[in-house]
C-alpha cells in the first residue's frame, strides 16, 4: 500500500501541476480485511489493497472533479487534465465560495499496530472463540470481523494540508436459536481491544433468554433502548437534521427550532471528532480541522455541523466546523463523531421503573418517513424482551415501530451512565415512555 511519502508526493504533483485558479486533492489509500462467518463457519474471507485519488479543479466558480484509483504520475496527470476540462465546461456555480484555507489540524491518535498487522489467522482465531461459545449452547453463530488501515490526505492550493493514518476494527456476533436471536458488536481503533468471546457471550445470553417468544399487540410501550437502538435514532437525526445543508434547504427539523426545546432536558448531543471515547478523526474531507459542535443541550436545539460551503452561506456566515464529506456530494456536512451525553441510571434502574414495557437490543432496516417530524420506521431485532414489574420475563416477537425520533427523545425518563461506541455514535441506553409500535413480525 502507499506510504506517507507516496501520499504526499501525489498531493504535491497535483498542486504543482494544476493550472486552474484553485485545486484540491484528496487521497484515501489503505488496506482492509474482513472475515465473515455464518452457520458456524467462515464463509467469506477477503482482503484488499487500494487507493482513491480525487481531484477538484476550480476555475472561478466553475468546478470539475475527476477521481482515479491509479496513483501513478501519468494517471494523476490524466485525472488532473480531466478535472480541468470539466471545470472549463461547467457553468459558474454562484453558490461555491471557493476552497477553504484552513490551519493544519492537530495530529490524531497514532494508528494501532495490532490492527495494522492483523492476520487472517488472528481473525480466524477470534471467530473460533465465538464458535466455541455457540457450540457450548447449541447456537448458530454469524457475524464479521473487519480491520482497516487508512492513509488520508487532503491538500489544496489555498494552503490547507491535512494528513492522518487511522485504524479501525469492528466485530459483530449474532447467536440464533430456532426462534430467537441475540447480538453484540464492538468498534475500536485497536482490534486487540475487541473481546470476541465476551461479545459472543452477550449475544448468546440474549438468544437463550428470548427463546419461545410471546406475541405482543402493537401499541405504545415504555422501552429500554440499548445503545445500538439509540445510535440508530441518532444517526438519522445527524443525517437529516443537524446538517447545515438540510437546514439551508429548509428540509431539516431544526428549521424554526434553533434555541427551542426539542427533546427532554436529559438529552444533550454533540459531535466531537477529537473525543478519545469514540473513533477520533481530526479533520474532514476538505482538510478542515474538526471542531466540537453542540447539537442539543439539555433538550434545546443548539446548532448544526458545517462544511466550507454551508458556513459561507450561513446567516451570519460562520466558519466550517470540519464536517465535509468528499466533494461532490448531495448530502452536505454530516456529524460522524456524535456523543449522547450519559446520565446517571443503570439498566437495572431502568428495568425496575418499568411496570410493563420492552427492552430493545437494536433496530433493523430503519428509514425516515417524514424528515421534518423525524418520523421513522423499522423493526426490532436480535433480542426484544418483555418487561413486567421491573423484570425481564420473556422474549417477544419482533415488532415494527413508526415513531418520531424527537418525540421519543422528548419522552426520555432516564439516561444510562455508561455508553458504548456504536458504528456512528457513542450512546448510552435510554428509558423512553410511549414508544409507538405499529405492527408485528410475520413469523
Amino acid at each position: 500500500m502507499l506510504d506517507r511519502a507516496q501520499v504526499e508526493a501525489i498531493c504535491h504533483l497535483v498542486l504543482e501541476e494544476a493550472t486552474t485558479d484553485q485545486v484540491e486533492v484528496l487521497v484515501n489509500a489503505g488496506e482492509s480485511a474482513l472475515t465473515r462467518y455464518a452457520d458456524n463457519r467462515i464463509h467469506q474471507n477477503v482482503a484488499e489493497t487500494g487507493s482513491a485519488i480525487s481531484i477538484r479543479a476550480v476555475q472561478g466558480q466553475r468546478l470539475g472533479v475527476c477521481s482515479t484509483n491509479d496513483p501513478r504520475p501519468e494517471a494523476l496527470r490524466a485525472a488532473l487534465a480531466k478535472a480541468t476540462e470539466l471545470a472549463a465546461i461547467a457553468p459558474e456555480n454562484p453558490e461555491f465560495p471557493g476552497l477553504p484555507s484552513a490551519p493544519r489540524p492537530q495530529p490524531g491518535p497514532d494508528p494501532v499496530a495490532a490492527t495494522i498487522n492483523s492476520t487472517p489467522e488472528e481473525r480466524g482465531k477470534a471467530v473460533r472463540e465465538v464458535l466455541e461459545v455457540a457450540a457450548g449452547d447449541s447456537l448458530t453463530a454469524s457475524g464479521a470481523l473487519e480491520t482497516t488501515y487508512t492513509h488520508l490526505a487532503v491538500a489544496n492550493s489555498e494552503g490547507a494540508f491535512a494528513y492522518g493514518e487511522f485504524t479501525r476494527s469492528s466485530m459483530s456476533a449474532v447467536m440464533e436459536t430456532e426462534d430467537s436471536a441475540g447480538r453484540a458488536e464492538a468498534h475500536a481503533a485497536d482490534v486487540s481491544a475487541i473481546d470476541a468471546r465476551a461479545l459472543a457471550t452477550i449475544a448468546a445470553g440474549k438468544a437463550l433468554a428470548s427463546r419461545d417468544p410471546r406475541s405482543l399487540e402493537p401499541g405504545r410501550y415504555t422501552v429500554v433502548l440499548e445503545p445500538l437502538a439509540v445510535a440508530d435514532m441518532i444517526f438519522w437525526l445527524g443525517l437529516y437534521g443537524c446538517n447545515a445543508l438540510a437546514y439551508q434547504d429548509k428540509r431539516s427539523f431544526l428549521c424554526e427550532k434553533l434555541g427551542q426545546k426539542i427533546a427532554s432536558e436529559k438529552i444533550s448531543l454533540g459531535d466531537d471528532g477529537l473525543d478519545p471515547r469514540g473513533l477520533p478523526m481530526t479533520f474532514d474531507f476538505e482538510g478542515v480541522p474538526k471542531q466540537p459542535v453542540e447539537l442539543i443541550s439539555k433538550g434545546v436545539a443548539m446548532g448544526m455541523v458545517h462544511d466550507s460551503r454551508t458556513a459561507a452561506h450561513a446567516d451570519p456566515p460562520v466558519t466550517s466546523t470540519g464536517h465535509a464529506l468528499p466533494a461532490p456530494n448531495p448530502w452536505g456536512p454530516v456529524p460522524t463523531n456524535m456523543f449522547l451525553r450519559p446520565g446517571e441510571a443503570t439498566v437495572a434502574d431502568m428495568l425496575r421503573s418499568v411496570d410493563r414495557g420492552l427492552l430493545v437490543t437494536r433496530f433493523h432496516y430503519t428509514n425516515i418517513i417524514h424528515p421534518i417530524n423525524t418520523v421513522f420506521t423499522g423493526m426490532t431485532r436480535d433480542g426484544t424482551f418483555l418487561i413486567e414489574e421491573g423484570e425481564i420475563v420473556a422474549g417477544v416477537h419482533n415488532l415494527r415501530f413508526t415513531q418520531s425520533i424527537l418525540e421519543a427523545l422528548g419522552n426520555v425518563k432516564m439516561v444510562g451512565s455508561e455508553g458504548v461506541q456504536c458504528e456512528y455514535a457513542w450512546c448510552p441506553p435510554l428509558l423512553v415512555e410511549g414508544f409507538s409500535f405499529t405492527g408485528v413480525s410475520g413469523e
Binding site: A33, E48, P91, P120, P328, T438
Partner: protein, 489 residues
C-alpha cells in the same frame, strides 16, 4: 490484461488452491448533477483492479489489488490462498461447486447511442432546461436533476478454463423537486420518472431521449406544490393499486431478496437477515394469488440485471420464481445450488467491482403481465387508492413485515381517480399481500425499471438490478400507518 489474469490464476494454483478464478474490472463513469439552477457536480471517475478468488483446503479466500502488475497479482493470489487456509480452520465440509461448462467469448455492450459521446455541455444544458421549467411552473424550494453514464469492462478467467470478456454501458437520469410549506412544517417531493435517481438501464443516450424529462418537469413541480395542501393519507384498510415503479421496489424487497439462496442458507444472517422462503417451501408454498407470476431473467435486453455470464462464469438465464402463485425457484450459485437439490447454478453471482467477491444478487426480477389496462383497473375499483413513486422502504429480517411510503396517492371512489393525498404509507405481510393481488396489468403497462443501489454483504456491495413490472391491484391493504394513538400499556 489476459496475461495478468492468467498469471493470477496460475499463481493461486501454485500456492495450493484447488480452484481459482481471477477477474479484472475497469469501471468508468461520468455524472452531472444540477440543483436550483447550478451545476453541483460535474464528475468523472475511473477504477480498475484485479480480484482473485480461491478454494484451498475446501474453504474460500479472496484478495484484491488495484496495482496492475504481475508481482501485485501474484501477491494477491498468494494472500487469497493464505486467507482460504485460515477459513478452513472452521470449515465443516469442503466447499463443492456444481459443474459448469468453461465458457469463452467476448460480449460487447449493447446500446444505440453511446452516452459518452454526448457532449457534457449538452448533458448539463438538458438538466438546466428541466430546472428552468420546474422553476417556472411552481414555487418549489429544491429542484434537482441527475444524469450518470457508466462503462464497465470485465475479464474473467478460471482454473477450469473459462475466459470471458464482457462490457456494459449504463445510462441513468431523473429529475425531482421539493416544495416546502411557508411555515416549514411540511416538505413534499415529486420526481420523474421515479425516485432515488430516476431510471437507469443498460442502454445508451436513447434512454434519455425517450424519458423526455423536460415534458414532465412542469407536472412534477406543480404536484409537489399541490401536495403541500393535500389531505394526509387516512389510516384505513382499503384496496390499493401500485404504480409500476413502486411495485418494482415492493417486488425487490419482498421477492427479490428472499429468493437469494445464500441469504436463505443463513450467510447474511448477521447483517441484512435471512428469508422466510426456506427450502422446504420450494414447490409447495403459496407465495401469492394465482394472478402472480414472477421470473428472474438475466437475458432481458437493457435490464440492469442482464449479462451474458455471471461472475462465476455461469450463463445468464431465466428462472421461474413464482408460477400462478406457487413458489418455484431461487437465485443460486455454484456453491449453494446443491442445497436445494439442483445440479447447476441459476447464474446469479455478481460482484460490485474488482475488489469484492461475487454474491448471489438479483438479476431482473419481473412480475409477468396479465391482461388489464390501468384504466380498467381503476374503473373496476369501488374504493381504494392509487399509490405512486417510492419515498421510504423497510422490511424485517425475514422479508415478511414491510412498510413503504410513496410520494403521492390518489383516492379512488366508484372507479374514478379522485383527490391527491400526501404522506401515503402502506404495510403488510409478504405472502398475505401477494395473496391479495387480484389483477395485474398488461404488457402495454409493463415497464423495466433499474434499481442501481441494491445493498448487500459485508463489506457492503451495491448491485445494479432490474425489475420489469406492470401496475397491479391488492385487496384490503392497511394504509396511512402513523404512530399509535392508543396507549398500549
Amino acid at each position: 490484461m489476459e496475461e495478468l489474469i492468467a498469471r493470477a490464476v496460475a499463481a493461486a494454483l501454485e500456492a495450493g488452491a484447488s480452484y481459482a478464478d481471477a477477474r479484472f474490472t475497469s469501471h468508468e463513469d461520468e455524472e452531472v448533477r444540477v440543483k436550483n439552477g447550478a451545476v453541483e457536480s460535474l464528475r468523472s471517475s475511473s477504477a480498475q483492479g484485479v480480484g482473485v478468488r480461491v478454494l484451498a483446503e475446501g474453504a474460500w479466500g479472496f484478495a484484491a489489488t488495484s496495482t496492475l502488475t504481475l508481482a501485485a497479482v501474484e501477491e494477491a493470489a498468494g494472500l487469497a490462498v493464505r486467507i482460504a487456509r485460515a477459513s478452513a480452520s472452521t470449515q465443516k465440509t469442503p466447499v463443492a461447486l456444481t459443474p459448469v461448462e468453461p465458457a469463452s467469448g467476448r460480449f460487447p455492450a449493447v446500446f444505440t447511442e453511446n452516452p459518452f459521446d454526448v457532449p457534457l455541455a449538452e448533458r448539463v444544458e438538458l438538466l438546466l432546461d428541466c430546472d428552468k421549467l420546474m422553476a417556472e411552473a411552481a414555487n418549489v424550494a429544491l429542484r434537482e436533476g441527475f444524469l450518470e453514464v457508466t462503462h464497465e469492462k470485465k475479464y474473467f478467467e478460471s482454473s477450469e478454463g473459462a475466459q470471458i470478456y464482457q462490457e456494459g454501458v449504463e445510462t441513468g437520469a431523473g429529475i425531482e423537486c421539493t416544495a416546502v410549506a411557508p411555515d416549514g412544517s411540511e416538505t413534499q417531493t415529486r420526481s420523474y420518472p421515479s425516485s432515488h435517481g430516476g431510471q437507469t438501464a443498460q442502454r445508451g443516450w436513447e434512454l434519455v431521449r425517450e424519458l423526455d424529462m423536460p415534458s414532465h418537469a412542469e407536472q412534477i413541480a406543480c404536484e409537489a406544490e399541490a401536495l403541500l395542501t393535500a389531505p394526509a393519507c387516512p389510516a384505513t384498510v382499503t384496496d390499493v393499486i401500485l404504480e409500476s415503479s413502486q411495485l418494482a421496489l415492493q417486488l425487490h424487497e419482498s421477492c427479490g431478496h428472499p429468493i437469494e439462496l445464500d441469504r436463505v442458507l443463513g450467510t447474511e444472517a448477521s447483517f441484512a437477515g435471512t428469508s422466510f422462503l426456506t427450502p422446504d417451501k420450494l414447490g409447495s408454498f403459496r407465495y401469492g394469488s394465482e394472478q402472480v407470476n414472477i421470473n428472474a431473467d438475466a437475458t432481458l435486453p437493457g435490464g440492469l440485471g442482464s449479462f451474458a455470464y455471471d461472475d462465476e462464469g455461469v450463463p445468464g438465464q431465466r428462472t421461474q420464481i413464482v408460477r400462478e402463485g406457487m413458489f418455484t425457484g431461487y437465485l443460486s450459485s455454484r456453491e449453494t445450488a446443491p442445497a436445494i437439490g439442483q445440479t447447476s447454478s441459476s447464474g446469479a453471482m455478481r460482484a460490485d467491482g474488482y475488489n469484492r467477491i461475487p454474491l448471489i444478487r438479483m438479476t431482473n426480477i419481473n412480475l409477468e403481465p396479465s391482461d388489464w389496462t390501468l384504466d380498467e383497473l381503476i374503473s373496476e375499483t369501488k374504493r381504494g387508492m392509487y399509490l405512486c413513486t417510492n419515498t421510504s422502504w423497510s422490511i424485517d429480517d425475514k422479508r415478511l413485515n414491510f412498510q413503504f411510503g410513496t410520494e403521492v396517492a390518489y383516492r379512488i371512489e366508484d372507479g374514478d381517480l379522485g383527490e391527491m393525498l400526501r404522506n401515503a404509507t402502506y404495510t403488510g405481510n409478504t405472502p398475505d399481500f401477494w395473496g391479495s393481488c387480484d389483477a395485474v396489468c398488461s404488457a402495454d403497462e409493463w415497464q423495466l425499471w433499474g434499481v442501481p443501489n441494491c445493498g448487500k454483504g459485508e463489506p457492503m456491495q451495491t448491485a445494479r438490478v432490474g425489475h420489469g413490472v406492470p401496475p397491479a391491484r391488492f385487496r384490503d391493504v392497511r394504509v396511512g400507518v402513523t404512530q399509535e394513538e392508543e396507549d398500549g400499556e
